[in-house]
């Protein structure tokens, strides 16, 4: 009878080696970006494993010799129990289309699929709850969407939104909800609302977990370290989810993105969007607004903030955003 145990990858070298070997045997990348790892053991032999990274279940493998022994269920249960201890009742999983049925039978629902990857979720609040929330915010007429991190909201963002707002009855601006940025999700949402006050046809919304999140596009938050091949796969899933679920809910026909001369990951993402949209949605790429001959970027703003370079900040930020940042950073000091 196999027994469930936690694997402490950083402490127990022998089990960590067995874990890596099992993943390799199952043709999975040995991905050390995990919070908690569980294993099913027969004596000292590792037969199956699953890990958690935030709300994402990953690195799931069952030894080919031990398949059809229902080793997966206790692993997924353990992952859920772990999440539940933190008050989370919701998890995502990435898998190959060929293994999707195993997870469906454990209560997972598919959200979106690319050719090589399927993203599934289980628990609540789920995608249906998010779509329900979006329906309440829906406005009539033509609609476009922009997804942004706004870390922080720059004159460049404002220019992009203005371009979209001049062409459509409504522009839905989705602000990333993931907490991986210098400014908190709440601050970024507030700044976008503040910065688009002059545009009455703009609706500012959170992305929750369903656009460019740690679940749909984790590479976004690794930018300079991300593996571009992996990023491409994730971008395809993220784009598929937008095309299949988000856009129809709000009758969005066009998505606007800023041209991306600087970050290769964002460039990969824009390419994946264009490919996934073909035939169903328009993708409008707007050239970056320039300041002193360089494209305005949030990275430049953060640099100027670090150097307390007021002159540059005034050039890159709307006055009300500059004020917002000053007021809110003074609390921290």
């Amino acid at each position: 009878m196999a027994e469930l145990r936690r694997i402490w990858l950083t402490i127990n070298r022998e089990e960590a080696t067995a874990w890596a070997a099992l993943l390799t045997k199952s043709q999975l990348a040995v991905d050390h970006q995990v919070d908690v790892t569980f294993g099913m053991f027969e004596g000292e032999t590792l037969l199956a494993t699953a890990s958690l990274y935030g709300q994402i279940i990953k690195c799931v493998a069952v030894d080919p010799a031990a398949q059809s022994e229902n080793l997966l269920a206790p692993l997924i249960q353990a992952a859920f129990d772990q999440l539940r201890a933190d008050g989370v009742e919701h998890a995502f999983i990435y898998t190959k289309p060929s293994t999707q049925t195993f997870f469906s039978s454990l209560g997972f629902t598919p959200l979106a699929a690319s050719q090589d990857v399927v993203l599934l979720e289980r628990g609540y609040p789920d995608l249906d709850d998010y779509l329900q929330f979006l329906r309440q915010k829906k406005r009539p007429g033509t609609a476009a969407a922009i997804v942004m991190n706004a870390n922080p909201f720059t004159r460049g963002h404002h220019y992009l939104v203005t371009q979209a707002a001049s062409q459509f009855d409504t522009v839905y601006v989705f602000v990333l909800s993931a907490e991986h940025s210098q400014f908190s999700a709440a601050d970024r949402l507030a700044m976008v609302k503040l910065g688009t006050q002059d545009l009455p046809n703009v609706v500012v919304l959170p992305t929750r977990d369903y656009m460019v999140s740690s679940a749909t596009f984790p590479s976004y938050f690794l930018k300079d370290r991300a593996d571009l091949a992996v990023a491409k796969q994730q971008a395809q899933v993220d784009a598929a989810l937008f095309v299949q679920k988000i856009a129809p809910t709000l009758a969005i026909t066009t998505r606007f993105v800023g041209e991306e001369p600087l970050s290769p990951v964002t460039a990969v993402y824009n390419d994946a969007l264009a490919a996934a949209f073909a035939g169903s949605l328009q993708l409008q790429v707007i050239p970056r607004l320039q300041s002193d001959g360089a494209p305005i970027s949030a990275t430049a703003v953060r640099q100027a903030l670090a150097n307390s370079d007021q002159g540059t900040l005034e050039k890159l930020l709307l006055p009300q955003i500059n004020r917002y940042i000053k007021e809110h950073s003074s609390h921290a000091n």
Partner: protein, 101 residues
């Protein structure tokens, strides 16, 4: 009993069932995935419906993942999920006992 927020009870172990209850505007819907769907799907749904009715829950979306649970388990998981979803902590055992068998 009023479903105030989503809640669930049960595990994915063999012979258990995971019941998740979510608020709904009206009516009871049950999405069931069972390893014994063909033989017992209807009976499992009937057990869940009966337990919800006894608890006077008329508006709820149920998601159930069954791994061959017996009727007593189905009832127990449904009751536990309902009490959690309604934020009721004190179980009315007498009342439950009057209909559970």
């Amino acid at each position: 009993m009023q479903i105030k927020h989503a809640a669930s009870a049960g595990t994915l172990e063999s012979s258990d069932i995971t019941i998740t209850l979510k608020p709904a505007d009206s009516g009871v819907t049950i999405a069931l995935d069972s390893s014994v769907q063909k033989q017992f799907g209807r009976q499992i749904k009937a057990q869940i419906e009966a337990a919800l009715k006894a608890l006077d829950i008329t508006a709820v979306n149920v998601v159930a993942t069954d791994k061959g649970a017996l009727d007593c388990t189905i009832k127990a998981r449904t009751i536990a999920a309902a009490y959690r979803a309604a934020d009721v902590q004190d179980y009315n055992w007498e009342e439950i006992n009057s209909w559970i068998n």
